[in-house]
Every structure is written in structure tokens, then in C-alpha cells.
Symmetry: C2
Subunit: 241 residues, 2 copies
């Protein structure tokens, strides 16, 4: 199963001025593709920090995604940080200059030329109808922080990441978590490969705990589901889906 790390770059997230909706989006998308997202890290806009964390994630995971810090302003340091992570120079990419000129019918101004600076040897992949391509360095996929643009770009290349997806069953239970915890431990003893999640809900009338059962093997998942239902009292189940 391919693994992934997500590096979110931006003071605006850490200072609470902007809510990071990119991480939940990518977490869901990667899960549905069968990619195992193992770490989400949010850091400040700082070249050395970006370089260090990018390199660590690149070494640890099959795919790395970055969000934020690409643009024309003083705090957009992601390209510099990623270049430094791999000991590359950051260079004016003539293909990027040509794309900007094609998009707006005139040559880029100084700020736009900054946006055409990418790590030496980066791969550029066209992203649907956007003039700005996805920039890829080694296994690092560089996305913008603006959610609408990130989504368009991710959608344009998502099939590159597809693994074997997990299958999911949800069981809504009326009992409290502390009343069923021992049944869950027993279930895991019998089904050690099962991925079992237990999420108490506050303020719900109809159920108290949402259980999630996951496996890539449909037969194993079905057996585990039956094993769970056999362990819980019949009137404890709100619904299964």
C-alpha cells in the first residue's frame, strides 16, 4: 500500500486566521484511492524548516504533498524550501514563462516571474484548464494553498496515486463506549488485521458510538462485521451501513 505525508505550509493556519480545509480533503481523497496517509504536519513559512521537513517526508513516504506558500509575495517560500531540500537551485522555468504569457497575452511582470521560479529539474504536469501546472520534485507534489486550485490540481493527477482501497462498514451503537470496549478488544483478538475505529458522539440522540470496520478483503470484513454483531446485544445496534 502506498504511503503519504502531507506538509501544510502557512502562518495563516497556525495563527488561526484561515481554517485548513485542504488536509481533510486530501485525507479523504487519499483514503478512497487506497493511499495510507501517515502524517499531516503544519509549519511556518520558513525556508530551512520547509527544506528539513520536506526532505524527512520524502525519505519516509512514497508520496509527499505540500499545500501553500506558492505565489508572488514575500511569504511564499515553498519553492525555495523544496529546492533546498534536494540541494537544487531555483531557476526561472521558460515553460512557465511561456504559459503565463499565453494565459494573459503579455509577458509576466516581476511578481509573476517569481511564480515561474521552480526547483531545477522539476517536472511540470498540466492541470486541467489552469495555466499553472502541478510542479513535482522527486516524489514531492507541490500544491497551492487556495482550496479551489488545490482541488483542481489534485483531481487532474489523482490516478497517479491509486493503490488498493479499503472497504468500510459503519456500525452505530446505542451503548456507551465504556460498555462495549471489552467486546471490541475481543473482536480484535479474533480479527487482528481488522482496522477498527470507535468514535463517541456527544449530543446525538439515536446512538452513542460510531464504530468503523475496515479491511481491503471483503470476505474478512464481512466475517468481522458478523463477529461484532454477534458480540453486541441486538437492541444495542442503531444501524449498520
Amino acid at each position: 500500500m502506498p504511503t503519504a505525508g502531507l506538509l501544510v505550509i502557512g502562518n495563516e493556519i497556525l495563527s488561526g486566521k484561515v481554517v485548513d480545509t485542504n488536509s481533510p480533503y486530501l485525507a479523504r481523497e487519499l483514503r478512497s484511492l487506497g493511499v495510507d496517509l501517515q502524517r499531516i504536519l503544519t509549519i511556518e513559512d520558513d525556508i530551512d524548516l520547509i527544506a528539513r521537513e520536506t526532505r524527512a517526508m520524502s525519505d519516509a513516504y512514497d508520496f509527499v504533498f505540500t499545500s501553500g506558500g506558492i505565489g508572488p509575495t514575500h511569504d511564499d517560500l515553498t519553492m525555495d524550501g523544496i529546492a533546498k531540500a534536494f540541494g537544487r537551485d531555483i531557476v526561472l522555468n521558460e515553460s512557465m514563462v511561456a504559459r503565463i504569457e499565453r494565459a494573459q497575452g503579455k509577458p509576466p511582470n516581476e511578481s509573476q516571474r517569481k511564480m515561474a521560479m521552480v526547483p531545477d529539474g522539476a517536472a511540470l504536469v498540466d492541470a486541467g484548464d489552469l495555466w499553472f501546472p502541478v510542479v513535482i520534485v522527486e516524489n514531492v507534489h507541490i500544491f497551492p494553498g487556495i482550496p479551489e486550485l488545490l482541488r483542481k490540481k489534485f483531481e487532474s493527477i489523482r490516478e497517479r496515486f491509486r493503490g488498493i482501497p479499503f472497504l468500510l462498514k459503519r456500525v452505530y451503537v446505542k451503548q456507551r463506549e465504556s460498555e462495549i470496549a471489552e467486546h471490541l478488544n475481543d473482536l480484535l483478538t479474533e480479527f487482528p488485521e481488522l482496522l477498527l475505529g470507535s468514535y463517541p458522539k456527544v449530543g446525538e440522540e439515536a446512538f452513542h458510538v460510531l464504530l468503523t470496520l475496515e479491511s481491503r478483503d471483503p470476505g474478512y470484513l464481512q466475517q468481522a462485521l458478523e463477529g461484532l454483531l454477534a458480540r453486541l446485544p441486538g437492541d444495542a445496534i442503531h444501524k449498520v451501513e
Copy 2:
């Protein structure tokens, strides 16, 4: 200015099944208290990983907050991980047992006794009307993943963290980011202590970029604001707040 790190523990976030609303909440709260949140890290429920990352954050920041992984089920490993981070045993806390018994009028069952296991020498701080206190080990403040409970607990101890808050001005600009980027760089040359954010908005009619100006010094902030407004054409400003 006090610094902080936030460690989010939970497979359910990484697999996209649950959206992490605790991080945006704590980011906003800490900012308003004048605490500099420097890192948000989301990791899997794994004792060694929790131990390693907790220790690294504890060494690096004044305050550490953890979210998630406390409860009675198999995947609730935060207390074990934090005990390991500081080379402490995890022990049954008699005060926690007494609190549970007081809350429900009978002794805890086996699963509830698991919830009364905390790192040896942990401080317990009452959290409003909740029976479960805030558990603090060294500079690490252990919060539940359930948003309603996390908020109640944080509110009950938030004054412990207060520093000198930042003041904020927002300027909504009709021009595009690439048209004003050079003015912003000039502004930062004149006001190097200014925290300046620039956030393009897609799909907005009235403005294209939200600029944020921040400083702890009201006079400096006002001068920087005037410096910015003097640099931009008068008709470029949508509003200032």
C-alpha cells in the same frame, strides 16, 4: 512570547473519516491569548510515535497540547505514549477512580479503570462541570478528541497560557496579488517587525486579496497601515477593518 506545539493523535483524522476541528479552534484561541503556535502535527495511534513526538515538542515549546486518543478502547494510546515520552510508569490514579465513582454512583468498570490510568506524577486540574479533569504531564496538556469536551477543558484553563496578544488590521484589496506584491515587499523593508499576510480569494466579487497586518505595538501597527494605504492606489481599497 510563549510558544506552543499541538499534537493531534488519531487514525480517524488521517484516514479522512473525521474532520479535525480542534486544531482550528486551538489555533484561534492561542492566537487571541498571545501564544505563538509553531507546529501542528497529526499522527497515528502508536505508542512509540506518540512518545517520540511528544518529547520533541515538549523540548521545543513552552506549551504542548495533545488532542485525541484518551478513552477506554484499544486505540486510545495517548496516556501510554506520553508516559513513555518522559520515562514514567502509567498508574491507576486513585483520585480519578474516586471522581468516576462520584460521577456515576458506582465503582468504575474495567474500561473505566483504563481511563483512570495516567502517567505517574501527572497533575490533575478540574475542568468545570466535567468529571474527567485535565491531565498535565510536565508542559504537556492532554485533551480529548471530542470537540465539545476539548473546548470545555481548554476554556477551564485558558488563562494559564496568556501572553501579550497581537493586534490585527485587515485590508481588502481589489487588485490582484501579482499587481501589489512589490508594494508589500517595500512595506516590509520599511516595517521589518510587521507580520504581513496576503491571502488571494477565488470567487469573491468585491475584492481579490485580503491583507492582514499584525503587531503587538498599536503605534507601529497604525504607522504600517498608513504606509500600506499610501502605497496602494486609493481606488484599490475595498475596505479596512
